[in-house]
Symmetry: C2
Subunit: 345 residues, 2 copies
């Protein structure tokens, strides 16, 4: 019989509330014969304040034993900027080699967008997750003096770029439109830019059916608001991916519905799935958070584990729920209940 051994990290702020709904929908969608085991981990601001720890080697060992990880949100204004980001979120992505950061953007029917008209948006960003300016390379000299110098080093390797570029080509090949855009800034960041561009062109030769284009990151932000329908699959570096996926989420229905996967394609380490929105401390504990992004992250998780039809049912449920949303706001719990009812129906 089949089983899913899931690590659950509710985290901070609205993380608790939305993860509860994600698990509710997950239980409802799974067939009887699939045994779901969950183990909750208490990471985030509370643990940091209590123990000073963010993510220990023992934590990583414990997480490693699972098939996948579901995360709500990590981050709280009571913790200095960077501590939980570097000490937990990025540490985990690097430790588990989550080099494919997958962020689909689809404007679902009936969902509001800040863009005029109702453009057809349906693309996926493959953001590199373990290199670029996110490596923590760099430093500071003469800190706090008028002569301070601070550096940040973007590290890019042929190994790291090629594997994520290959992943993106394979995804483009599997989609009806078969289009792939490389986004970088190769006219200014010429060292990293040439590496990315050369590898992209080399791999492109192996995928003759995929139509490719190159776009500077600044120009890409223009197209994301004026012609978002032109995109199918995008591959880009860690920092550019961070920036454009927030913009992509904003134009395709907001971060309330933006899901993401931090994927280790080889399966050597468990992959992690999380909504793109943060912990939103201002609305935490009030039942106001939209759990849709978390529920869609559960769909990505299921697809990653090979439960394609269950993933599809969740996506259809969220789509139908959004299309039928009335003007009366529902609570986090009510939306979760509605989605659970739809997927089990």
């Amino acid at each position: 019989s089949r089983s899913i051994n899931l690590a659950v990290i509710p985290g901070d702020g609205i993380g608790q509330e939305v993860v509860a709904q994600g698990l509710k929908v997950l239980s409802a969608v799974l067939p009887q014969d699939v045994k779901l085991e969950t183990k909750e981990f208490d990471f985030g601001a509370r643990r940091y304040h209590a123990t000073g720890e963010t993510l220990t080697d023992a934590d990583l060992d414990a997480l490693k034993k699972h098939d996948a990880i579901l995360l709500g949100a990590i981050g709280d204004p009571s913790v200095p900027s960077g501590v939980l980001e570097r000490g937990f979120l990025l540490k985990l992505r690097f430790a588990f080699d989550h080099h494919v950061n997958l962020r689909p953007s689809k404007l679902l029917p009936g969902v509001a967008t800040p863009l005029a008209g109702q453009p057809e948006i349906d693309f996926v960003v493959v953001r590199e997750g373990t290199e670029g300016p996110y490596t923590g390379n760099g430093g500071t000299i003469r800190k706090g003096t008028p002569h301070e110098v601070a550096t940040e080093v973007s590290v890019n390797t042929a190994f790291g770029v090629e594997r994520v570029v290959r992943d993106a080509f394979a995804r483009a090949q599997a989609r009806p439109r078969k289009k792939l855009a490389l986004i970088h800034k190769n006219n200014v960041l010429t060292f990293a830019g040439h590496l990315w561009t050369n590898i992209f062109n080399k791999v492109a030769a192996e995928f003759p059916e995929v139509t490719t284009e190159y776009m500077h990151v600044d120009a890409a932000t223009i197209y994301l608001v004026t012609q978002p329908e032109r995109f199918d699959v995008i591959v880009t570096d860690n920092l550019f991916g961070d920036i454009i996926t927030d913009l992509a989420a904003a134009v395709s229905g907001g971060i309330g519905v933006a899901a993401s996967g931090n994927i280790n394609p080889s399966g050597e380490f468990p992959s992690m799935f999380e909504p793109v929105h943060g912990s939103a401390p201002d609305i935490a504990g009030q039942g106001k958070a939209d759990p849709s992004a978390t529920v869609l992250s559960v769909a990505l998780l299921l697809r990653h584990l090979g439960y394609d039809s269950e993933a599809g049912r969740i996506e259809d449920a969220v789509s139908a729920d959004l299309a039928e949303r009335g003007a009366t706001p529902r609570t986090t719990d009510e939306i979760g209940d509605a989605l659970a009812a739809r997927v089990s129906g």
Copy 2:
């Protein structure tokens, strides 16, 4: 009697056409007693192909003798990516210490925006122009092999950050709303992020009337499409500034009307003014380019040289022209004529 000694760089693609209109409007707006002298420089793709040169020391010496520089656009697909960008545009910004890269975003009445509704957009981005990931620091080892490593180093100095932050605070102080936002990614780029944040907070203490906020660059892209009216003045690093000013231009009427100044506030070197759009080789030579961005760049140039009322007249003329634009497209020349007529009227 007063005089303006202007270096003119029409450059590539539509650069020639739009600069001609900029000069037309400049001549029309200047009072009789101001002597305008212009000297044209033949930089760009043609010269590169003919001589292999992009910008020599002798060129810099010649440019230096002017009060300001008006640039159309530099860049052509016939030149490998990076050659003219690094060899001309960035070389000039660094050589003339253009550390304040000023990019106003104002949605003028009657101008189309991709955003739903007609938000009130009126902010200015102060982008650092001589540091960050633009310094060209970095390199490549094992080029072209499976073991290639390419780095890009973002260099940030207290000196460089403080002068641009001060400039931004002074601009915010002079505006009615007196708001300043720092945009960075200090939760991930912690070395540079702390330098920027600390200096920002230190200088803020000297400007108690200015309301400040900090925003991560990814979140900023969301606000630029969902709440652009919240921004007044933004200060940010070179790369983040590059990215968000293209997005800002897109939401506030498009790059057809986006002007910019590469400013050396001390006056040690001439400042340079240019439209944000590039050389647009696809429409070059067809009289289709909108010269408004160049004409608005001339307004920034005049303001920089102390001709405030003339700058205001140009801005009013562009605003009125845009508001009254009919459905029939006009040529580059016709728009230039109309603007020249308005400012001299």
